[in-house]
Structure formats: C-alpha cells, structure tokens
Assembly symmetry: C2
C-alpha cells in the first residue's frame, strides 16, 4: 500500500499576529492534490491538527472542511492522532462516527494498542501522552521517563502485531537525535530524559512522527518527522516543507515538497539597502529583518512596513537590542533552577534562602517527573 505522511498542521496558528488560515488552506489543497495524484490508500496526520486546545471557530470550521473533503468527498481513509497542541477531548469529539467512514482519529492511550489495518499494513495510532497516564495504564510506578514508557508501549503493541502484516507507528513526541528549533517547541531540557531513543522503535517498519517541524530533525531510514506543511516561525525560514510518500512493499519514503503561499525570508542590510531593493522581494511574503545601521532611525518599523508590510520581527545588529537578544539566546541554555534563581533575585531584590532553593529544586524535579 501507499500512504502520505504529514503532521503539525496547527490550523489556526498566527505568525506574530498575522492570520495564516488562508495560507494553510492553500497548502492543504496541495496535500490533497498529492494524495489524489499519487493514488494514496491513506493519509496519516501525526498530531497537532490544531494550534490550540481551544481553537477559534474559524479554525474549527476550516479543519472540519478539510477533513470532510479528504474523507467524505475524496473517500480517503485518514489515520490521525492528537498532539500536544490539541485538546484530546475536543479534537476527539465524533471520533466514533468518523471511524465508520474510515477516518480513524485516536486521542486516547487505551485505543493505541488496537491497530487499524489497511491492506497489508497495521497502523498503531499513539496520541501525545503524559508519563503519568502510562503509569496508570500499566499500573506501574517504575516507569520513570518517556523512554521507559515507550519501551512498555511498544512491547504491548507487539503483542497485537499480525504476523503477515507490516507495522507502522503514528506518534507525536520528541525522538532522540533530532535537531531542536527554538521557537516551535518547548521542551524543558535538551536531550536526556525527554527524548525517545529511536532504537526503542525498531520493531516498526515505519514510524510516522509529528512534533518537530523540521523533517531533518531526525536522519533515519524508517523513523521520520514529516515536519509541518508550512513555516510557522522565523526559525523555520530555511527549512524545506513537504510530505513523505511511503510505500510498504518494499518500504520506501519519498519526499515531496510543498510550496508556501507566502514564504518567510531572513533579510539583513541597512535601511537604505532594504528600501532600495524592496522591489526584488515579494511584497506579501513574511520578513525577519536585521538592520545593520549604526545610527538610530526613528519609527523604523513603520517605515520599513511601507516596503515590507508583513515584517514578523526586526533586530538591530549594532544596538542594545542585539546584545539583549544574544543574552536571551544564552538564557535558553540555562537550567530551569538558574532561571528561577535569577528571576527571584530580580523580582524580590534579595537571593533565595537555602530552604527556598531546596523547595524550588524539589518542585522542578516534581514537574519533570510529571512531564
């Protein structure tokens, strides 16, 4: 069989205040066309269908329309899970009815162990989950982190593997080896306990992941992120977006790029350079601009917006802002306890007592445990 692997649609997302619904609609149309032209047998959407747990009515309407088009008009089976941005309960409403039309939407851990079979392949649909939910499900408090959790989950899934079938896992988490991007995801620590080792996923013929927006976050033959279908932040400006076209006999994954309705560009130059070269740049695209002027230009953002109406961020190479920004990049590498200590000092004008430090460390450890 052949399926299309996409994820992280984030329907309803804003890019620094700019509504992306129309762009999202256009990129959906491309995905639909690929599914049609390539005669796929199913479309896999690996979580984060919405950008928020309570999406706007406009976002709800649009996603509903898109799923209606794929499933009830184009008659394509859909295999989907909830991601960390979705509310499992809200997204999952109606799933029992959807399944009768081959739209398989799983938002619960319980249902993840019963695969959906399409032709020669069994799909295990594992929504985004918390560690505590896995502990509760197995009645096992010794599950410490997401690797322990996934080891148990995969073991349990293997019990239900049909012997003559291929096995695909659809999931939404941070897998080890991935290159992290600052804006798109918030994980507390780099690497370590919060990432799933890809070796844990070895029993599957293919793992269709969502969560990270960059398809190059992981370089493995059979464990892949599709990434988001369009750029959702400046940090994604240089990424190529697209979908995987996966064939099962034998397993091959082919990358098919998607064209952005409006691209995101990184520009660097003086005010004079940027304004004189403006005609070379698509007016309605999105721009991250780094100004190289030394002198301060009053109201520069509004002046630049006459040439580039959709500036999503503006930095100055040679001013205090630039310094601050570098500091904030350094910030991202500090530990949560350091950040908290610093915040306390700045807010209270005094350092934390030894007891307070212990409380803070314990609270952070508890949070990490729950995560």
């Amino acid at each position: 069989m052949r399926f299309l692997h996409t994820a992280d649609w984030h329907v309803g997302k804003n890019l620094n205040g700019f509504d992306l619904l129309a762009d999202q609609r256009k990129v959906f149309k491309q995905i639909e066309k690929i599914a049609h032209d390539q005669k796929v047998d199913a479309v896999v959407i690996a979580g984060d269908l919405y950008d928020r747990s309570v999406p706007t009515e406009a976002a709800v309407h649009q996603l509903n329309q898109e799923l209606y088009q794929l499933n009830l008009v184009d008659h394509l089976p859909i295999l989907a899970i909830s991601g960390n941005h979705d509310s499992a309960t809200r997204l999952g409403t109606g799933a029992d009815w959807f399944a009768k039309e081959s739209f398989y939407l799983n938002t619960t851990l319980e249902a993840a162990f019963h695969p959906v079979t399409i032709a020669d392949t069994e799909f295990f649909l594992l929504p985004f989950f918390g560690i505590q939910a896995v502990r509760n499900f197995f009645g096992d408090d010794k599950i410490r982190d997401i690797n322990d959790a996934m080891t148990r989950i995969v073991q349990e899934m293997q019990k239900n593997f049909g012997p003559e079938k291929h096995h695909v896992l659809v999931a939404h988490f941070f897998a080890a080896g991935s290159k992290r991007t600052a804006d798109s995801e918030t994980t507390i620590e780099v690497g370590g306990l919060s990432a799933v080792a890809t070796s844990t996923l070895a029993p599957f013929d293919y793992v269709a992941l969502g969560h990270l927006h960059n398809k190059n976050a992981l370089q493995e033959e059979r464990v892949k992120y599709s990434g988001s279908p369009m750029k959702f932040s400046v940090s994604e400006a240089k990424q190529e977006k697209g979908v995987w076209l996966v064939d099962t006999a034998p397993f091959t994954a082919k990358w098919l790029p998607l064209k952005p309705a409006h691209d995101i560009h990184l520009l660097k130059g003086s005010f004079a350079e940027l304004t004189t070269t403006a005609d070379d740049h698509a007016r309605d695209d999105f721009y991250d601009i780094e100004l190289t002027d030394h002198e301060r230009i009053p109201d520069v953002l509004n002046k630049l917006r006459e040439y580039y109406p959709r500036i999503v961020s503006l930095h100055r190479e040679h001013q205090a802002q630039a310094v601050e920004q570098r500091a904030s990049k350094k910030r991202a590498k500090e530990s949560p306890l350091d950040l908290l200590t610093d915040f306390y000092q700045q807010t209270m004008g005094t350092t934390m007592s030894k007891e307070q430090q212990q409380w803070a460390a314990q609270a952070l450890a508890d949070v990490k445990k729950e995560d």
Copy 2:
C-alpha cells in the same frame, strides 16, 4: 411514527457554582430509558445542547458520550439543532459524518429547508438564527423582525413539503404567549417584536420547540416547548420537568415527567425553624432560602450550610437586601432606555441631554433591529 421531544440540555451548566454534570448524566439516563421503553423512532433535541459556546472538556466528553449511546449503541436516529447557547460551528463539527448514522444535527440556516424524512414524517431542523442571517439568505432587507423572518422561512419550507407526509418543525426561539422566566433567558423586551406568533407556525403538524425552560410557557395543541430536562435555576423550582412523547398518526403529545437527581426547593422561615426542621429536607438537594428573622445573624450563610450544604441563594425578608431585591425585580420590567437613563444619572451625576437621549434611543433601536 413516534418520537421523543426534548430540548435545552445545557450540558456543563453550573447552578450558582454547583457542578451539575453528574445530575445531568442521571437525567439523561432517564431520557434514554424512556426512548427505549416507549420504542421511539427518533429523539428530537431542540437546541441548547451545551450551556456555553465553549463548553468545558468535561461537558464535551459527557455530551459526546450521551449522543454516542443514543445513536451508535441504542441505534436511535437523533434530530438536533443548535440553540442560542451553542456555538453553531463548534457543535456542528462532524455533522457530515453523524448524518451517515442517522444522527441529523443541523446548525446552519441553509440546510433547514431540506427535511429529514423518518417513516411518515418530514422534520425541518431550524437552528437558532439571527435576523440578519435571514435577510442575507433571502436577499431581502425588508425582513424587520423575527415574525417576518419566520413567515418567509415557513413559506420556503412549505415548498419542500412532501404531499403524503406529516411535517414537524424543530426550532429554538421565543414563541408568543409564553410565560417568561427571569433567570433562564435574556430577551430584551417582553412580547412584541422578539416573539414568533404561533399562527405563523400553523402549516406544521407539530412544532418541537426549545429555548424556554418551562413546558407551560405555551399552551397550544401542536406547538410545544419540552422545557429543560431538569431545573436550572431557582425560578424553575416549581416547574415539572419531563419530555413529550409524540405520535404522528394521529398527532398526540403525551407528557412523561423526569425525576430530578437533586431537586431545588424554596424555603422560608426563621433561622431557628430552618435549623430544627433540617432533617425533614434532603441534605443534598438545592435550596433557595428566605430568612424571616428581624435581627441580623452573623455569618448566617455558613451556619445554614451546615444543615443545607447546597444553598444556591439566600434572602432576608426584613432587611435592606430584600428591598433591593424587590427593586431589582421591578427593574426587569423597565425599558432599556429607562435603565440607561438611570444608569447615566447615577454614574455621571447629571441627566442626559436631549441630544444624548436621541443617540441612546437610536442605538437601542439599531440593536433591536439586528437582534
């Protein structure tokens, strides 16, 4: 055929801070049992399935479970519309899939003119609507009020009447002749332009209404409110709750009462009386209490809560509060312009100028037009 007529479930509603989900679940179970025992061919839910446009996850989960039970487990067709408390878009998500399993949920004016046929009867599902939407739909700015709107809507529906069929309208609005209750609905004026005259609805064999929570709000043979399935405010304390069981050949409507999980009672007495008779009253029921004591009793609400844990409101017969409350009851009968004039005077310390009065009158007239 035979159908059950219910409405105004308001799943997720709170009664002055008390969560009603568990009670709502119990009353749903009674409705399900009636549907089963009476072998109905369909269940009609005439709007306000949720209490809010963005219900809590718990409410979403519960309503989804209930509809799943009725439709996919009990295999009962459902005929439902959105009410003024529902978000048409949010509630309507998945409706295209639901319809394939005979769960007909209509949340759009456009779809109201195409009836759903079950056995000998055509059901026209008309969701709650705004006048402007009707003007837009018919391209007719001369539609002034809800009566004009309903006249046009009914004319249009009649064009699609099957000649050999019975015709039922399912709708959610304020129909003329109804007794209004202060807490449950907010309509700007009593009677007049905001109510639909029942004569407009004459072409239908039966009109299954939602909106008003009291089944006695209208006394007509074939135009009926089912009311809410349980009491949702103190003003509903003396109402009997239930559902209509409607047969089509010939058309008859039989009232079947529902038992509240926890009733709402109006109690009046002195602190001494109320505390000594507390054992006569079900501890977990809801109470509206009017205290008759003349002297002020410190912390009286908390003291009474030891006997009646679920007091939803407390008044004093002989104190300032009581006077204020009577004033506020009178208030409800004043016109919007009088209220505004009064508010301006109290806030600004001076009366409105003639010009300001004209502006205010015009603004209120505009609002009424839009409504």
